[in-house]
Symmetry: C2
Subunit: 515 residues, 2 copies
């Protein structure tokens, strides 16, 4: 691994010095992934956890799951000891959990810049941006279909966002590019416009293969064979159904030792029961099944146990976000996944608002805080989500990305060192004094308090004189500033050329498809 | 106590039936105070707690506190065994904590409508509105000095807010009324426009006495002698100073068995060290001193241990809200106060924004969530706070008050009854089905998910057709609706008359004072 990394860094060493100099000149600060120093909130007691785990086993054994249009998967399950009838797979109690045991509790996803590699699992929290919206809304242009230009801008914003550890995947759908060719342009953007880790395509097994091949160009074939360089999103078709497309992509990634998030996608009351305990039971059954399947494909393949959960407004049928029931499920699923020994994905900048207004912020803050305290290890959608995930918003992106800094601060916990205790300061200042000028304050003030780089801290008069700007307006300016300051991270021109050639060749091999 | 309550309800029974009928006709839903079914988040381990507790004792013994211009207090401390030099009181290790032991861990604050009485302590959380802003901002009128009309509107909004349990105190400063007479009008508003519990005046010991006398009219003299009917806010002049005005008010209330919140008021880096552990040490020392003093005045007097804490923006000196350091202090202080066996006051709808925008909502949501999980028992400022507490906003009031519903939902915890487990539903629906029509959903959907009464859940097209309103706009409409629907709770005309007479007489006894 060390050898591969060296080889990788050494490639195209001719222009290396110049490129290093360039990179130093325009270096953007990037925080390390969060390593929590605070406990998780555990809202389920042992009895409740035992009930849900037992119920999940009963479900798998008695009701079972469906692996649709996937004879190879059915064969694998049969060989593992499941009862397979048609496409229905009934899994004897304990089998799925037992198969999950070979999945690592933690793994490293490598970035092309080794400083940006992330460790997913344990007490860590890795933050990745919004995934999937077909629409974009920005203040200037309003709401419209997303394009590859929007996509590239989101990747740039992600690269420039200090508190974001991951470049994500489909930060928005580039609807101006044929469906069957989008993945090339999306991956190319992540690979060339950022040096943070990223996700691969899952919309077809062949596109997963393309993703692996592009990574082989970027990282080197040997490096990819030995290391995880992609984490990709495999949604379960809840309830209890695993379709051939998603499972096909999972098979490709697991075979290549690339990471997958096995993630039930649940709007409570539609794809799962209206109760929290019932939803947790189904989520656990689905996750165990998907993870077990990944381990049948390749024991030890890295995998993340996911739970995308929202509640529903029973008046309108609309999904709702930042609600207490979604929080309960997120907390509870965290406990269940830790007991399974798997890294956990959930939460995000979820909200149902049409605009980056107070509703968007309340709901988002509710969900981000839950994510931190629920022990989430990989938070997709950590910034930029709007309108129930239909819309990606650059202003919301930078607003949320700023709040992610607060999560970093929260996770640090409390320093009770002698300096943290500050007894000398209290003695020095004494009753009726103030701390602004004391030695302890002078020595510590720069790092003492987290500070937003976006929100308004000005006195009323100054704020008013400057136009009385709201957060949306401040965010619009920040988006422009970040995109204006953006400089791409250096990339070996040889690799860049190979990527371009690969994409041109592959695109030429297929006709355009728009659905 | 039961007798007193009966007597109270029986008073003026002549018009009772008519008034009851009227009250029934315009009954507004009011939730019971929160009884948490979820654990608190404990971010400090036992070692950290022991360090902070030991340091607080060292501080009290070695540095001590100041009770300014209050010879009676100094005498009390001397008699209790403290070392008193001038106004400086040094408290031997263990003494303050020992004195705190007579304070009740929980108490009932009675409302004139017994259904609205609250129990403060234990696992409970009682929510009260914003306190103290000299300014009001509403969408129509902009930012301006608050008046008694604003005050009355906030009391009405509080009465109409389902998730608010308490009418609060100085919901804004009625600056159009002389400083020395405001408390009469403020108390009159709480007593007549709402039937929820409220707070008394603390700006002069004489005003505290007036508050008690007005309560004696409202509740009956005997009832007040035997029961707690006010919870009032006593701020400590941090660091480590207890001024005569605040302590004088505390003395009046404690002697009357009325509750006080002993609350350090801290902007970190100014009134306390820039470190969390240092601030917690000072807060604990201050709270123990103030609570101990209340118990010297009257052992067993009800008291709440408070912690108002914010961080500071070291660039501008402005206080900042919803930050991780404020969260750490709120969590840590909760642990320390529980170990002291006292009800705990902290958190609120804190934010530094000038407008009820995304900043206001992010910061508020951060603080509200922390308050719930930190084990806060009494949350002042739970709605309506804007611009660092300089401004009370009716739109923000209804926005926050709506979010308090989400806290109620969160606190409920997870139902793992047979109905909650929903195994029949999962079996009924099976792989690939949906839950919208199943029996379990039909039986449970009405109460399954918390639903905002303010935020937008509509499809984009409907929302757009209706004018594309943001949260601020929706909130403005809700304020108008609530104020339009408002009907005062019935009050015995005899009592109402006595209150009016009392206020007229007392006001006539004193010249106007505007500072």
């Amino acid at each position: 691994m060390a050898e591969a990394a060296t080889r990788r860094r050494g490639r195209g060493a001719g222009g290396g010095a110049a490129r290093r100099a360039e990179r130093t000149a325009v270096r953007f600060e990037a925080a390390k992934f969060i390593e929590r120093q605070i406990p998780n909130l555990e809202i389920l007691n042992d009895e409740a956890l035992a009930i849900i785990e037992a119920n999940a086993e009963i479900l798998l054994e008695e009701t079972g799951v469906v692996f649709s249009e996937n004879p190879a998967a059915l064969e694998r399950w049969k060989n593992a000891g499941a009862d397979v009838q048609g496409e229905r797979v009934r899994i004897p109690r304990g089998l799925a959990r037992q198969l999950c045991a070979t999945a690592p509790s933690s793994f490293t996803q490598h970035a092309r810049n080794p400083e940006r590699s992330v460790v997913i699992g344990g007490n860590n929290l890795v933050l990745a941006p919004v995934y999937g919206p077909p629409f974009v809304r920005d203040r200037q242009g309003g709401r419209r279909y997303a394009t590859i230009e929007d996509f590239r801008n989101f990747v740039k914003l992600g690269y420039m966002s200090k508190w974001l550890h991951h470049s994500g995947g489909t930060v928005c759908e580039p609807t101006d590019i044929p469906v069957n060719k989008r993945h090339f342009d999306m991956l190319h953007a992540h690979m060339t416009l950022s040096d943070k880790p990223f996700m691969g395509s899952v919309t077809e097994p062949s596109r997963a293969r393309d993703s692996v091949e592009m990574c082989e160009i970027l990282f080197g074939k040997e490096f990819v064979a030995e290391n995880t360089v992609m984490t990709s999103l495999i949604n379960v078709n809840s309830p209890l159904t695993f379709d051939a497309t998603m499972m096909g992509a999972l098979e490709v990634y697991a075979e290549s030792n690339q990471a997958c998030i096995v993630s039930p996608f649940i709007v409570g009351g539609a794809m799962a029961p209206v109760s929290v305990a019932g939803t947790l039971t189904q989520v656990l059954a689905e996750v165990m099944t998907g993870v077990a399947y990944s381990q049948m494909v390749r024991p030890g393949a890295p995998v993340i146990a996911g739970a995308f959960v929202t509640s529903i407004d029973m008046n309108s049928g609309a999904p709702t976000f930042g609600t207490p029931e979604a929080a309960h499920i997120t907390y509870g699923a965290g406990q269940l996944m830790r007991r399974l020994g798997l890294p956990y994905r959930s939460a995000g900048s979820f909200n149902g608002s049409k605009l980056p207004d107070a509703q968007a912020a309340y709901e988002t803050a509710n969900s981000l805080n839950v994510g931190l305290l629920a022990g989430v290890n990989f938070m997709l959608h950590a910034c930029g989500w709007l309108e129930g995930g239909l819309v990606a918003s650059p202003e919301k992106f930078v607003m949320d990305a700023d709040q992610l800094g607060a999560l970093h601060g929260m996770a640090k916990g409390v320093d009770v060192s002698e300096n943290g205790q500050a007894m000398d300061a209290i003695r020095e200042v004494g009753p009726g004094g103030h701390y602004l000028g004391c030695a302890h304050t002078q020595a510590n003030f720069k790092s003492a308090f987290w500070r937003s780089e976006l929100l308004d801290y000005k006195p009323f008069e100054t704020w008013s004189d400057e136009g009385g700007r709201d957060t949306y307006t401040l965010a619009e300016a920040r988006v422009q500033k970040l995109l204006g300051d953006y400089v791409a991270p250096a990339l070996d021109p040889e690799i860049a050329g190979q990527l371009t050639e690969y994409i041109a060749r592959r695109k030429a091999e297929m006709p355009d498809a728009f659905s």
